[in-house]
Symmetry: C2
Subunit: 167 residues, 2 copies
């Protein structure tokens, strides 16, 4: 599956991002790019990567933090609408980059929706057997057509209003 | 060890926070409270809790995100000065709260400094054998006097300048 939906193929920065294997492009904002993660044990799992090169969260600028906050709200809202998410885990680890020499980390967030119930989508069953804890799960890939439907569904549910307009 | 260093004992909100067992009070800002986490397998591990009750990251306000960004910079800087941190993991999970009925989550972040080398402090050795990955480690508690020294050292290294004054 084309990582950037054909939209961003001319972008040098996106080409560079491909090596990180963040997943398939869903949408972008001014400062962040949202991908559907390769690992879909928990349906709707995403990666949110900074739209410029930066190695450490400490290097984020005010406007990037502000827009990230808005994105947390919008992405949680959209994925909840799609799959009845119970709660969300967010993490910025970047551990794998430090297994390389020299390390070449790029600021990104893992968004993992968590479910206290099974979810059925396109005839497939998604369970979250370790709900309430954080345990490693085997990698689950999905057929391209299912990934495309997930991406479209999430994209269609992203609210267009700004964070500043909700209380 | 007194969770709030005797400073905040009159605060109703802090009393309420005690049940979450976030650890020992280090310092607070307008919107966040920083604790030294109970688990010190990785020396300098902290919890950063929102200074009002809120269940979900989606509910954070702009000014809270902005100040969190500033805190990420300050805390990473301070703990790096103290223990020569290699890189940092940040996560907001709140899983354990969903094992209770009804769930009663409170927005907080785990800050886990990671080390590609052993650190010695107060005659104790701290290693990070899973550096570059995220694996569960057995709980490591420390004597009160060591925790107090860690807390003081971190507090003394927190920069007083604002995020807006660094590039």
């Amino acid at each position: 599956m084309n990582n950037y939906g054909g939209l961003l193929l001319e972008c040098e920065y996106c080409k560079k991002l491909e090596k990180y294997n963040f997943g398939d492009f869903i949408f972008k904002t001014k400062y962040w790019i949202v991908f559907l993660a390769p690992q879909q044990s928990n349906i709707g799992t995403c990666v949110v990567a900074l739209n410029r090169h930066e190695e450490d969260l400490s290097g984020l600028k005010c406007e990037e933090w502000l827009e990230f906050g808005e994105l947390v709200f919008k992405l949680e809202y959209a994925v909840k609408q799609c799959f009845d998410v119970t709660m969300s885990n967010w993490g910025s680890l970047m551990n794998a980059s430090y297994l390389e020499e020299p390390p070449n980390p790029h600021v990104h967030w893992h968004y993992i929706p968590r479910y206290n119930h099974a979810v059925e989508f396109e005839g497939l069953l998604f369970e979250d057997p370790y709900f309430g804890t954080m345990k490693h799960r085997p990698f689950r890939s999905l057929p391209d057509r299912v990934r495309k439907r997930i991406i479209n569904n999430i994209k269609n549910k992203i609210p267009q209003t700004s964070l500043h307009s909700h209380p």
